[in-house]
């Protein structure tokens, strides 16, 4: 456990904080301490409670239990404005400033310097320029904010936040859309603010960046605090296992099943071979071949490029370079339709926004992809629809078993099943499933995993993405490990591959770096 760096009082101290949403404990008995002059990383996987903690800190949510002390005084925020007045400012991943206003206007919007009611434009511009120079930025403050890069926009947001109330600055995923040099620029600003005594909370899923900039970190998992560490004292591999934890497998029996060896599968026909495929800002060039009946698992932290890779294979996003071949044909992927014509199906991780159409019924959602590929002029006859829909409602145990229910009224697990049914009736050769088990209950999770295992047994190729490494290990024949938007390793899932081995690969960037 990390001792506080300087011998002084924490500027912010949260003790035993709890937050419950209907059906979910988002935070339970979480302690969090923040000292002036430190960069403190808040670490955790998807759903660990980072966002909730930040929202509690910034007054978006009230707490159900525990206390928050700021500067030694008990505080309770009734809204973001109170938190800001008390000295806690946040800069989000999506810069929430106005791109169509000037830099100076953005810095002073809502608190413009006035005299006799009139805005003192010259003074506003001068103060803005001074503020930005304090961050080593020399900008034309009269230019529109939108004309600058996201990185600069973020720094303008930081300048504004710091000028409003400079005690605690929260940066939520600030680097996710920045390139390497922009990240350096941002870190320089952060170091400068740190020297001036500001306390900075830094949230990022880029481990290297955390190790580069942060002094201490607090790790959350499933809404609980795992621990508070000094960055220098916690190796990356230990951090990753602290974040992911080791939960008991729900589905021991799948592991018992005899899987065909990767060697045997690779004798089979490749369904899809991607060679040198890349998209700028999404994923570095990678090559990946998926064979008939093979389950390829993608492992990596959130933001490591798992989803980006999958989207390129379905042409949901277009690749900048590289070639795709199906069987022996090289195909130029123009969009999802091209992928579908070659038997690729894709179930998105954003089930609600990119998956099911909530307003439509279960039946309509299930037939949607098949109907789309047939074209509007060739409707699927009603009898055939009923047959297909009934079959999959039964096979996947979709509840309620009423094909005329609106999908928006179904639970997450059942929506996921509807989405799977939509693709299964197209009889795909390759099924790409991105986080099919996220946010659904244990029973449905197990059913979906069993289904995927069965489908691959019947010869379907599956690309399986999950943040839960146990799941990936249980299902996959081959595991592709991603880190910082690069495919760093492809491992055959042999007996000696376990969670630790994958964690080591994720942490070090190669399978051999287990000693890091």
């Amino acid at each position: 456990m990390g001792e506080p760096t300087p011998a002084q009082e924490p500027i912010l101290e949260m003790t035993g904080v709890g937050k419950v949403f209907p059906g979910v404990v988002a935070l339970a008995d979480v302690d969090f301490r923040l000292y002036p002059g430190e960069v403190h990383a808040l670490m955790g996987e998807n759903g660990a409670g980072k966002s909730t903690l930040i929202k509690v800190l910034t007054g978006v949510y009230d707490i159900d239990a525990g206390s928050i002390r700021l500067n030694g005084e008990d505080v309770r925020f009734s809204g973001p404005l109170q938190a800001q007045r008390a000295g806690i400012s946040t800069v989000y991943q999506e810069v929430n400033l106005c791109p169509n206003l000037s830099v100076a206007e953005n810095i002073f919007i809502g608190r413009e310097p006035r005299r006799f009611g009139a805005i003192q434009w010259r003074r506003m511009r001068r103060r803005s320029a001074e503020l930005l120079r304090g961050l080593d930025l020399d900008l034309d403050v009269t230019a529109l904010l939108g004309s600058y890069s996201i990185a600069i926009q973020q720094m303008v947001a930081i300048a504004r936040a710091v000028d409003i109330s400079a005690k605690v600055l929260i940066l939520d995923e600030p680097t996710s859309s920045l390139d390497a040099s922009e990240v350096e620029q941002l870190f320089a600003v952060m170091r400068r603010l740190k020297r001036e005594g500001l306390a900075i909370v830094f949230v990022s899923h880029f481990l290297d960046q955390v190790y580069d900039i942060a002094d201490r970190m607090t790790v959350l998992r499933n809404g609980k605090r795992v621990g508070e560490y000094r960055v220098a004292e916690l190796p990356q591999a230990q951090l990753v296992s602290a974040m992911i934890g080791k939960e008991l497998a729900v589905l021991e029996e799948l592991e018992e099943q005899e899987k065909p060896s990767t060697a045997a599968l690779e004798q089979g026909e490749p369904v899809l071979a991607a060679t040198g495929v890349a998209r700028k800002g999404a994923i570095e060039p990678f090559s990946l071949t998926i064979h008939q009946g093979e389950v390829v698992g993608l492992a990596g932290l959130l933001g490591s490029g798992r989803t980006e890779l999958a989207r390129l294979l379905f042409a949901a996003d277009k690749a900048d370079q590289g070639t795709f071949s199906f069987g022996t044909d090289t195909v130029s992927m123009r969009g999802p339709r091209t992928a579908m014509e070659h038997g690729v199906a894709f179930s998105s991780e954003n089930r609600r926004t990119e998956g099911v159409v909530g307003e439509l019924t279960v039946r309509e959602n299930i037939v949607l992809a098949l109907q789309a590929s047939r074209g509007w002029a060739r409707p699927i006859p009603r009898g055939r629809q009923d047959e297909l829909v009934d079959k999959y409602i039964k096979a996947l145990d979709i509840r309620p078993a009423n094909p005329d229910t609106q999908v928006r009224n179904l639970s997450g697990g059942n929506q996921q099943k509807v989405l799977l049914a939509r693709w299964l009736i197209t009889e795909p050769k390759l099924l790409i499933v991105d986080e099919p088990t996220r946010g659904i209950d244990v029973g449905a999770k197990a059913e979906i995993q069993r289904l995927l295992a069965q489908l691959s047994g019947d010869g379907m190729a599956v690309l399986f993405i999950s943040a839960e490494l146990e799941e990936v290990l249980r299902l996959s024949h081959k595991i592709a490990v991603l880190r910082d938007r690069r495919l760093v390793e492809q491992l055959d899932n042999t007996d000696d591959v376990d969670v630790d081995r994958i964690l080591a690969t994720i942490a070090s960037g190669s399978a051999t770096g287990e000693d890091s």
């Binding site: 209907p22 955790g44 998807n46 999802p336 926004t353 159409v357 949607l368 002029a377």
Partner: protein
């Protein structure tokens, strides 16, 4: 109450009630309002007038329904009516013999093709160029009115052609031709959207464009189709309108009809946000608006109150249809569900608790 509940909750219940109330209220002003007689070999009566008079609006609302279902909007329909009427009347007026059936048919064909081209223009701007529908169709709303005035040279073109007049004012098998045309277009639209998969795909694109794209639906092509169809509907409406008065008025033909059409669609239960659409609802809405216009006239409401009266009726109807208003006013009489049925925006579902 319990047996009536499904009927009361049907989305067309309140518009239907309003229509019946309006029709019945006409009895106070004209006792033989519901009388339909056969006179000179065709149907005659106020109800027939209402039906015939509502045909342009029914057609425009029909096209508007599909456009709105894709979460779009077509403001240009009034201008298309003006252009199509102007072109058709100009061609007919240039005929050596205005009563030549083939000549009139040729003029109508040109006008219909033109309406398709105008719809295509809107569709290309929205689907291919990616301009917001309200802006894209605003171009033709403004520009199209100008084009119509150029075609008519700022004058009203009068025609004396009995074949042309048949479209809007004639009768076939005792029924007004305009009603037959409108019914045919509506029937074709219903068949096309509900017997093929067109309706489902349109609703899917309107509800969730992203999910639809990832399901392999070619949203652009569908968007193009609905704008072309809307142009076609407005074109046919323009023919009926100009034929009925045997003249083309580039300044006033179809003016503000887009607003009535949008109103008809909304009354019919199709949300402006796109998705589920109801052609029957829009037809009902259009007939309702026409009935309202007629009622105002038969009730002898002074001209300067007409718009105000119409507004009041529309407000009442919209309130009756609004679920929020209904639960607030009538909620305590029912076993009410708590208003927090859906997840509150701030409280995330399990999957969204942390990013």
């Amino acid at each position: 109450m319990s047996r009536l509940a499904p009927i009361v909750r049907h989305r067309l219940f309140w518009p239907a009630v309003a229509l019946v109330l309006l029709l019945v209220s006409n009895l106070f002003f004209s006792a033989d309002f519901f009388a339909v007689r056969i006179k000179d070999g065709h149907l005659y009566g106020s109800l027939v007038d209402i039906l015939r008079g509502s045909t342009p609006l029914v057609l425009v609302a029909l096209g508007m329904t599909l456009v709105i279902a894709t979460a779009g909007i077509d403001l240009s329909v009034g201008s298309v009516i003006a252009i199509v009427g102007a072109v058709a009347c100009l061609r007919v007026s240039e005929l050596d013999d205005q009563n030549s059936v083939t000549g009139v048919l040729a003029a109508v064909a040109v006008a219909v093709v033109l309406s398709l081209v105008l719809g295509l223009w809107n569709g290309v701007l929205v689907a291919a160029v990616g301009i917001q529908p309200i802006i894209a169709t605003l171009i033709l709303l403004v520009g199209g009115r100008g084009i119509a005035q150029l075609i008519t040279d700022g004058q009203i073109i009068n025609v004396r052609s009995s074949p042309y007049r048949t479209i809007g004012a004639g009768y076939a098998l005792t029924i007004p031709v305009a009603v037959i045309i409108a019914a045919a277009v509506v029937a074709v639209a219903v068949l096309l959207t509900r017997r093929t998969a067109l309706g489902l795909l349109i609703e899917s694109v309107g509800s969730s464009p992203t999910a639809s794209r990832l399901a392999g639906i070619q949203a652009r092509r569908l968007t193009l189709i609905v704008y072309v169809f809307s142009g076609f509907c407005a074109g046919v409406a323009g023919l009926i309108y100009s034929s009925n008065i045997s003249s083309a008025d580039g300044n006033n033909a179809g003016a503000l009809i887009e607003l009535d059409a949008i109103l008809a669609v909304v009354i019919g239960g199709t949300a402006l946000t796109g998705g589920r659409f109801s052609i029957a609802g829009s037809v009902l809405g259009a007939v309702l608006i026409q009935t309202l216009n007629i009622t105002i006239y038969t009730a002898g409401v002074p001209g300067r109150f007409t718009l105000l009266f119409k507004a009041v009726v529309v407000v009442v109807l919209c309130l009756a249809q609004s679920p929020t208003f209904r639960t607030k006013v009538f909620g305590r009489w029912r076993r009410s569900k708590p208003p927090t049925a859906g997840p509150t925006p701030g409280a995330p579902a399990p999957a969204e608790v942390a990013a």
